[in-house]
Amino acid sequence: MDFRLNQLIKQVKKGNHEAFGEIIDYYQHGVYQHCYRMLGNHHDAQEITQETFVRAYTSIQSFKHKNKFAPWLYRIATNLTIDWMRKKKPLHILDQPISDDYSSTHLDQINSEGPTPEDCLEIQELNDTVQEALLELPIKYRSVIVLKYVRDLSLQEIAESLDLPVGTVKTHLHRGREALRKSLVKTIRS
């Protein structure tokens, strides 16, 4: 893929839509999974995935060939999801650490509009306990966990995607996993 990818990126830099279509084919599934697990619903995931690719296209000149493409793309996606969540809710709510009295209220706040039939389908999928626990994680832990487990990126690639040192990525991974352990154990017992 690397050779082909380089060829495609060169074409995209010249404004070639067809070449960009091939890049979409290759990465849309992964970027969508990432956005869906970060945001927890299809509507927002689609919105942000689309915006990620449009942003990638318009800023392709800033992509340097010595870098890896996937972390560059996931960086755009992660920044957009964070902006999106900030717009929806003030940051202090989203970055709050998990405490005992912190159950599903946070989720309820995010989906504060009344449920539509479409939402009901989404809620059904949200019932997945792991996803719920993920959405309760502070963003910085959630993005590391999702990139590692859902996208299967290496720690190095995650560090590039989030613009963090590898050591910090490891710490976030541990803290995130620890928080999930606490919340999932609670659900199993209750």
Partner: protein
């Protein structure tokens, strides 16, 4: 402090397979004796497992099309060297005309100097050509062997021979999409001798046509 809190970091590193052989042996010995740490580790493994089990969701069918619809329009730029490759007939014609216009070859090679169409508002600085905001060029404009800062307007076609459009601020290649605001006609980039020939031939051929068809 609870025992499993002291060992927490190491338990995660065990899960990541990051411990050295000795560290691992040491921790495993402890796990055999300590119920607390054992439970903690089992729970972490369960979380790890559940995260790995997360299934991919289906992506919407219209995702790709929506993205393509939102992209800025394809630029007017067309690489002539590409169209020569794609159309054999043109290639044949070019080969034929090479005989006729062999002189352009020498003119191409002998002329590595910067040159451009004459226009009073255009400024030259070293190997840069600046078309300032105030400038409006009514007809076609040709630039050779230069960097072009395009802030004004070209009403005809802009032909770049061994030249490129740069941003006035950071000197990088300007994004293709933003050229079109400045050029009403086509932007033609010529960076190879062969394409240059083709361009010359096309030009001469048009002259020829206008000569025979009054």
């Amino acid at each position: 402090m609870a025992c499993n809190q002291i060992f927490e970091e190491e338990l995660h590193r065990l899960l990541n397979s990051e411990l050295t052989h000795d560290e691992e042996n040491c921790l495993k010995h402890h796990l055999m004796e300590c119920k607390e740490c054992q439970t903690h580790y089992q729970e972490l493994k369960k979380v790890d497992h559940q995260l790995l089990e997360i299934e991919d969701v289906q992506i919407p069918n219209d995702l790709k099309q929506n993205i393509l619809n939102q992209l800025p329009k394809d630029s007017k730029t067309k690489k002539f060297s590409k169209s020569v490759k794609e159309h054999p007939l043109i290639s044949a014609a070019v080969v034929f005309f090479i005989m006729l216009f062999a002189s352009t070859l020498s003119s191409f090679h002998s002329n590595q100097q910067m040159s451009l169409s004459k226009h009073e508002d255009v400024i030259t600085e070293g190997d840069r050509v600046i078309i300032p905001k105030s400038a409006i060029i009514e007809g076609d404009f040709i630039v050779r062997n230069a960097e072009v800062v395009l802030e004004g307007k070209v009403k005809g076609n802009l032909t770049l021979v061994n030249s490129q459009i740069v941003d006035s601020h950071n000197h990088h290649d300007m994004q293709v999409a933003s050229w079109s605001h400045h050029v009403d006609g086509k932007v033609v980039e010529i960076d190879q001798y062969f394409a240059w020939m083709y361009h010359k031939v096309e030009h001469e051929f048009k002259n020829f046509l206008s000569f025979v068809t009054p």
